[in-house]
Symmetry: C2
Subunit: 147 residues, 2 copies
DNA sequence: TATTGTTATACTCTATAACTATA
DNA sequence: TATAGTTATAGAGTATAACAATA
């Protein structure tokens, strides 16, 4: 449309959006299918949040955009399996501080390793210049996703 | 784009795999959250398969890697809503040929448009050279995901 | 009265096992 | 006997509504 600075004919914005989105969804789908994981996606996501910092159930529900009862159940399952620790907040009796146990940290690390393995095997077979493009794209996409 | 081998031993393979995977998952996650869709992800996926070509329930179950009863239910829901058409196979009475109705095609198109919209808005704000990187990355990632 | 969290209940998507109809 | 598909039943994950405990 407006931009013509590039020597090559730029991909129309709608088409590019579609291609980028589809590519990302295909990769996510394959990674999900290939990795035989100990924890489910939503559990992984919650544990990753707790890795950054201890949080309350309410905070997690807000971040993950699920209802309070749903998060309550997810957390209960992780506590039961020994991956998450519950501690009463000394300053506010209503709240419960949730954090990762060493077992939880190990599970999270192992889960990431399995997921990366599938991708690493495939990236290994790419020529160097394509890997360079993916490195740049990853930075751009992460920035876009965080907006 | 120039290859611009700024750093030959640039990103370690494991790190790159992690960054690319995370970037794709973040994009997928945001797209999923942002798009208020008429159809659920698994329904979208099935309808997209039928757009390529009419198929049987069994075929769809295999492609989508779900059980036959699960696919049976998913398809039943789409038929009930008028998005998918059932037709008895004249050569094999056991089989049922499934295909998209015009309504189904319209829903699929609309769903794609909504999903692309979120991405398009964000890509619009990127400089041209970054969009070029994403265009190339999309092609590479689609190839990798299809392996 | 407002907030944090849980329990009660229901809906959806998934699965395995058992069943019907056809080859 | 094998295959395509459905029905029966159960297990997760999600939601809203109602409840308890604390601020």
């Amino acid at each position: 449309m407006t931009t013509k600075s590039s020597s090559q004919a730029s991909t129309p914005l709608g088409t590019l959006a579609n291609e980028v989105r589809l590519a990302c969804m295909r990769i996510s789908r394959r990674v999900r299918f290939e990795s035989t994981d100990v924890i489910a996606p939503h559990q992984f996501s919650v544990m990753a949040r707790l890795e950054d910092a201890p949080r309350t159930s309410r905070e997690l529900a807000g971040i993950e955009r699920v209802s309070a009862p749903s998060m309550s159940r997810t957390v209960a399952g992780l506590v039961e399996r020994g991956f998450v620790l519950r501690q009463d907040d000394p300053t506010d009796g209503r709240q419960v501080i949730l954090s990762l146990t060493p077992e939880g940290q190990a599970v999270l690390k192992d889960s990431r390793r399995r997921r990366d393995q599938w991708m690493a095997v495939r990236l290994k077979n790419l020529p160097a210049h394509e890997r360079e493009i993916l490195a740049r794209a990853a930075e751009i996409l992460s920035r876009v996703a965080g907006e």
